[in-house]
Symmetry: C2
Subunit: 193 residues, 2 copies
């Protein structure tokens, strides 16, 4: 997605060797216009897949995911990373290790929102090691629903997440793919859409 | 907001004496169409206020807030409840106690996203004791920006949050106002929009 790659080059900040900070338009401040475009482009890659639900994980996945849901005209579900006293029965869970935050968390979705009839598109802001997507796939499989694909805003293609998902037979659609970081800049691999 | 009140009556679940669970359309599974309507209605109450930023708090505030931002054509910022290794310098913080989760957390926004020129509309899914909104107002004031109002999806009008905000001279716009819970049902007070 050309518009996204240009925005990453313009407003992204590279920290250390392999951290891309996009807090001015995606992970902290959110540009709704860009999210809307991202929603349309990701949705168009799954237009014929019969998607019934979009699933993401709080918090940075929510804005792009809700616009994918709008473009596909389906509900969006965001998995929870933290316990809440109002979540009580029928909870499906998976363990997810975050390399960014260096913690393992229990991700959960209320089982009543997924059924064996559901065809699910997972959406997330970043794909690096694929642990979050793997956890969501695990939960969706527990519900007997089918994962039709994983739509990603920014993929770190030099990490193992993409291959992990492809090895599970899951389609991956990444709108920007970072092949490498180099002297404070970055190189893109060819995006999926 | 009639549509929202009807949806609460249809799909909300009352737990215990005073917990309203709206996880089928707002706090877990999200109905983008309803969020879009909520965005339009909240935005229309601030159409002439010169809003430059919408601020919310992760995670359930993000979906309504991004549609308010769309309707006002401004960026949305979501405050963080948890530390992240990529958030390093210039962070504005406030302590927020959550009665629902029974924990105090440090809420933060990167100072670079708010300036004294900003006129801010705070958006959140629930207003109960007003602690989250109070923390956001504190942060926005630290940045020297002006809070033009607080837009709320569901207000628990029998709790102290609304008065706390009004006492600070802040306009409150709640789309559904719960006056009381009674025998497993609820009574609405007149909504602000």
């Amino acid at each position: 997605m050309k518009l996204l790659e240009e925005r990453i080059l313009k407003d992204g900040n590279i920290l250390g060797e392999d951290i891309l900070k996009v807090d001015s338009f995606l992970t902290h401040q959110v540009d709704y216009q860009l999210m809307k475009e991202i929603g349309k482009v990701l949705a168009s890659a799954y237009q014929t897949a019969g998607i019934t639900k979009v699933v993401t994980i709080e918090a940075s996945g929510i804005a792009p995911a809700v616009y994918v849901a709008e473009a596909l005209d389906v509900p969006m579900i965001f998995a929870k990373k933290h316990k809440n006293i109002t979540m009580t029965e029928g909870i499906l869970t998976a363990e997810v290790y975050s390399f960014t935050k260096q913690v393992t968390s229990t991700v959960s979705i209320a089982g009543k929102f997924l059924s064996p009839d559901d065809k699910v598109l997972i959406v997330d802001d970043f794909l690096a090691n694929g642990q979050a997507a793997k956890g969501l796939i695990d939960i969706i499989n527990q519900a007997g629903a089918k994962v039709e694909g994983v739509g990603i805003v920014i993929e770190k293609s030099f990490q193992s997440g993409r291959q992990l998902l492809l090895d599970q037979g899951v389609k991956v659609t990444s709108l920007a793919r970072i092949a490498s970081f180099e002297n404070g800049s970055l190189n893109f691999a060819e995006a999926d859409a």
